[in-house]
Point group: C2
Chain length 215, copies 2
């Protein structure tokens, strides 16, 4: 998955990387509420004004710090700002397995999951922050997931009536739940079973007809 590269031309890449790394570390150490621009600046070895010049708020730095983890090494050059795309080899089963296995690997990486966990805890009690997260981080990614499923649907790999919005939630919510609460192993086998079963649902006749109670 490629990812946003916010205004790379305007910023010193080394300072930007230091600021985002400091933000992730501090978030993992003490959570969102204790995080301040002052602490980020001190940890990153930059002036506060550098951060204020590049980001409008603490939340904006946090979201960029998490988005940066999904950037490919050449992301800033190759990516169009604001675009996220899932792989498309023409095989929806294989592509979803690739993407869900990558998500499993991200959740196993403390550098990724510790700051995200701190942010989730905050979002559970802060509806405004959760809405901001949905708009800035989750929405573009969820739209990319739905876009990939729609392409498969147009190619006849999924049922024309499949409830694609719901399929996305059934694919990812069980992963998120196991990650947040440790309710079971979070491994490739689990990712593959989710893909298999979600695609079964997406291929069934009448999948999008809740009033049609039995096919």
């Amino acid at each position: 998955m490629t990812s946003r590269a916010p205004d790379p031309g305007r910023r010193n890449p080394r300072s930007r990387a230091a600021i985002l790394a400091a933000t992730r570390e501090l978030l993992a150490e003490a959570g969102f509420r204790a995080l301040t621009i002052e602490k980020i600046a001190a940890r990153a070895g930059v002036g506060k004004q550098t951060i204020y010049r590049w980001w409008p708020s603490k939340g904006a730095v946090v979201f960029d710090a998490l988005l940066a983890l999904s950037e490919t090494p050449e992301g800033a050059e190759s990516g169009t700002p604001g675009t996220v795309e899932l792989p498309d080899t023409g095989d929806i089963d294989a592509d979803l397995r690739t993407v869900l296995r990558a998500t499993v690997a991200e959740f196993a990486d403390p550098a990724f999951e510790a700051p995200l966990r701190a942010l989730y805890i905050e979002m559970i009690t802060d509806a405004d922050l959760a809405a901001d997260y949905r708009r800035r981080m989750a929405a573009p990614i969820n739209e990319a997931k739905r876009r990939r499923l729609r392409t498969a649907q147009e190619q006849g790999q999924l049922h024309p009536d499949a409830d694609l919005d719901l399929i996305v939630e059934m694919l990812y919510a069980p992963l998120t739940q196991r990650w947040l609460l440790g309710t079971g192993p979070l491994d490739r086998d689990f990712a593959d079973r989710l893909v298999t079963n979600a695609l079964h649902a997406a291929r069934a006749p009448g999948a999008a007809a809740p009033d049609d109670q039995r096919e």
Copy 2:
């Protein structure tokens, strides 16, 4: 759903109800970490020793306080301690819709969801508490869900190879995610769509064969 009634004979029902109500209120007000046996006793108007005599730990009171919300009015008399059963009318579609709609209604009730939210936040950072929750609260309920699906499977309403453990997670994790993060409306329509799609997955041939990538 009927629910556990822990040792009702040993306890004064009025004191027990007051203790559990006080626990839920305090949990919703200030979270799990700030909760103490002293505060529960003061709010419930009982002595600390009354609580220590009936419950081994703060966590045990909290779990009973949440379980008590699922008790039917006659629960203490009719329920066998430790048993939870899903409705079984012989129609798995209708029964799952009944149960998921009831879960949606519980999440809309502040008296239920506020203390549970406080507990979830704690569990996200406390693996021991999460494990205790799974063992004492989630496991009996999840086993009841799997049991109901197995009965349907034995009656030929689901595919013999259906991955029932995963179906339970695909049914409930999207509900929990919408509740925790507000990622979408949590209503009867959503509950019904989850049931429809999860049952499509459970009826597909080869549902439990992750290595069998295309049916």
